[in-house]
Symmetry: C2
């Protein structure tokens, strides 16, 4: 292993100093036209692993942390000063290529200089120390921050936003908006709440607290607070012992791979699921206010469906007056090779709401229909309603994405990576199964037997990589992940499978 | 009004340059021994109002904001660069004494120099741009940040923390901990989940998603997401049209004021409420996992109860194996003249969990019983699990509180302010009713007829002040609110009532 790592450093170093369009050869046979310089001048030329992970320094730090903080889900304890670009450093001096990116949430590389400048700006510092209650006391430039940042990348057809703190509350506030909208339509415009509604709401009883539902899909993940968890169906451990709303789940298509060999079966599967959705809308014991879905089910195992399926879903929800919420918390902000994953679908009319978080480094939901702004103030409200520091950071992220054309980079790097994996799968068919994510940027996954052991093994060859669902390896590199990184990743995957 | 404002500037300016212990006289007759210099050298010497509020510049900005953001709950659009200490600036050059403090969430003054240094530090900048997924990839110094910050002020008996983003998710994760704890005890240590539990949880059905409840109190406010909102009972507008869990509410004591004239009646009222709590625990259709309560009901109208009541609640919950969650989101971090409001109660055994947010500028819940750490990893987990930038800021806030002895300042200023208000109430008995918050720092409130008009009127005399419940004026100044500010406030209150 030591030999391997040393050699790769050399390969990496060569790639960094290479002029544009130089052909790089890799031992494992991956040859690519390197069309761009690395984005980070000071990025490592390759992984470097010199201790076990965790090493002695990390072990000591983990022990200390455990006395005050649950460390049983700890993956790696990190040095964020030394991490650069696509590389994450630990406390023992190891440097790993990071294709997990803080659970898919680092957008443009560790210690990105433009984000450093953004975060160090007087405006940013000011909002850290003078945090406004945005709904009551917004800063004078809040409209400008929204328009030049969050709203400048709003999905087509959606021009307003409700800002929040993290994925779960983006989702939950979108559900609240859906319920208030539903009752507004049912009640009729301008009709007041009845005294019965007012009194029963204070007792958590219908009709004031109505029996309405959100429909989600099997294996979905939408967050872990009470409303969002009621729509999450990823794993029992996420849900056990927590009271939940009696809301319905529909089947998410279980596609067969490779897609090109299973066209008819997959089409039938998707039609079956759509029929189930419609059936539930018609027969569920209470009205369904909204259907929520991820463009690619992420925590649930990287499960895909075709644009036709999502078009069908949009049609059905529209036909039945049910809102259509697209949860782009994990898929949004470029990772699938488009800014929003739902752009891949070619919808005739936009989703009613689109949630975001993770790579945006702030959260919320977009909407376009002005009736989704509740009919009275203080119905959708909380003290902070987001964090302007993080809103400014998202603006900096957007600037960096545009400056480096990173969505395009991700589409191209993803295509390159996908073909490399396809080639690898042809040589290791027992190891790389159900490869998925073609034409979805770097949002790529496959199933592998002994997945957890594989993820651990990857650390020893210098790669921080994550899983999803029961058996999937999920790739979630940052938007600054380039072809030379992809080559290094392919090489390390093969190394791990060979071992 | 112009005259009044100009004169006050002079008074304030004198106070700033005054040596320690100089006696300051105020026109309205409030005389105090000024025992300390102002904390901010560059703080305004008094309010200054030169336009209507909102003035022309603000109006224009509000119109612009409204096209993308709901402005119907907007109170004032602010200039956070010009705001200093206890004074908030708007876009029209008005400068108001702020005793509302971003809905009780600004701790140590606008543009506090120590917080500026904290937020500008390389460590802080680093955590803005390299945001870790704390549960998986904590930074090497996370234990140290927790111990020297959040945990250094942990309530007595509680030595662990689960970190979050804002009040609602602090509350909801504490409820999740309570439910998992309850089932752990019921199930027995080391007993696995049954297959029936695992299967039913994925369908949101019992026994996997158990029918368990959290009990809260009438008029309580604990947040606005689905679980927290099910325990919030402040106002119908907070709850209408949102599905809720069928959880119980007990009566919160409705005390009569002045307390010294209503000792027996209030004692009876508290006993009645305690009996109701016990009755609900015994007879509710499902087990109660936890009782949650605010030390002073804030949004619900600044409703107080005596230490005896809270001691009784602790006893009852203990006797019935029900967890006792104290929601210190609004009362915590010094405002009541102790760091945590529940320190006023002299409990024999600590609460099981204490939630915090607002003035901490970060959020979470403290706990001590290690069985409240769920029996397996990933049961209490999310991507970010808080924000280390805000955790560092809270450490800076704690340092500033200690350096300036601000909890003591708040206790003393509060006592001074309370007596001033009592004196004012004796002269304006129709205006200042049910004055409450004696010995609770600056956490003071009273009822006033035509409350909303009074709040608006206060802006014209240079004070930003908030309300709670139906008719309460609630004071929520920062911890840097001093006696000379209190005098100015008293003067302005009288001015507004006189007008």
């Amino acid at each position: 292993m030591t030999f391997l790592l040393r050699r790769s450093v050399t390969v990496g170093a060569r790639a960094i100093s290479a002029p544009h369009s130089q052909l790089n050869f890799h031992r494992s046979g991956y040859a690519t036209l390197s069309t761009a310089s690395p984005y980070f001048n000071n990025e490592s030329s390759g992984p470097s692993v010199t201790t076990s992970i965790p090493g002695p320094v990390s072990k000591k730090a983990i022990d200390e942390l455990d006395s005050v903080f649950d460390t049983r889900s700890l993956n790696m304890i990190c040095d964020y000063e030394k991490s650069v670009g696509n590389y994450i450093a630990d406390l023992d001096g190891n440097m790993l290529l990071d294709v997990y990116s803080q659970i898919a949430s680092i957008p443009v590389g560790y210690n990105n200089p433009h984000l450093h400048a953004t975060a160090s700006s007087p405006e940013s510092i000011n909002f850290i120390i003078n945090r406004p209650a945005l709904g009551n006391f917004p800063p004078g430039n809040w409209a400008s921050i929204l328009k030049s940042g969050i709203l400048s990348v709003a999905p087509k057809g959606l021009n307003q936003v409700f800002t929040g703190m993290a994925g779960s509350d983006a989702i939950e506030t979108s559900y609240k908006a859906a319920f208030m909208y539903r009752r507004r339509i049912e009640r009729g415009e301008g009709v007041d709440f009845t005294s019965q509604e007012i009194e029963s709401a204070m007792k958590n009883q219908s009709p004031g607290s109505p029996d309405l539902a959100i429909m989600s899909f099997k294996k979905a993940f939408h967050g872990r607070l009470f409303g969002s968890l009621s729509t999450t169906r990823s794993k029992p451990i996420h849900k056990l012992d927590i009271p939940a709303f009696d809301w319905p789940q529909a089947s998410f298509p279980v596609l067969k791979y490779p897609l090109e060999d299973n066209v008819e079966a997959n089409k039938e599967e998707e039609q079956r699921c759509l029929a189930e959705v419609e059936d539930i809308i018609k027969t569920w014991r209470c009205p369904i206010a909204a259907v929520v879905i991820e463009p690619i089910q992420s925590e649930g195992g990287d499960n895909h469906a075709s644009p036709v399926f999502f078009q069908g879903l949009r049609d059905i929800t529209k036909r039945h007056g049910v809102l259509f919420i697209v949860d782009e918390v994990q898929t949004g902000v470029g990772a699938t090779g488009k800014f929003w994953a739902h752009e891949h679908w070619g919808l005739d009319s936009p989703p009613d709401m689109v949630t975001f978080s993770k790579k945006a480094q702030t959260a919320g939901y977009y909407f376009g229909n002005s009736l989704l702004r509740p009919n009275m103030p203080y119905r959708q409200f909380n003290t902070w309603m987001g964090d302007p520091v993080r809103a400014i950071l998202f603006r900096g992220i957007i600037e960096e994405i545009q400056r480096l054309d990173l969505v395009k980079n991700t589409a191209e790097t993803g295509a390159h990576l996908y073909s490399g994996l396809k080639e690898l799968a042809s040589r290791y068919p027992d190891k790389i199964q159900n490869l998925r994510g073609k034409d979805r940027g770097t949002f790529i996954a496959w199933d592998t037997p002994g997945r957890d052991a594989f993820l651990k093994k990857m650390k020893t060859v210098g790669v921080n990589i994550g899983g999803s669902g029961e058996s999937a390896v999920r790739l979630r590199p940052m938007l600054v992940f380039q072809k030379h990184h992809a080559n290094m990743l392919l090489e390390r995957i093969e190394q791990a499978y060979k071992a």
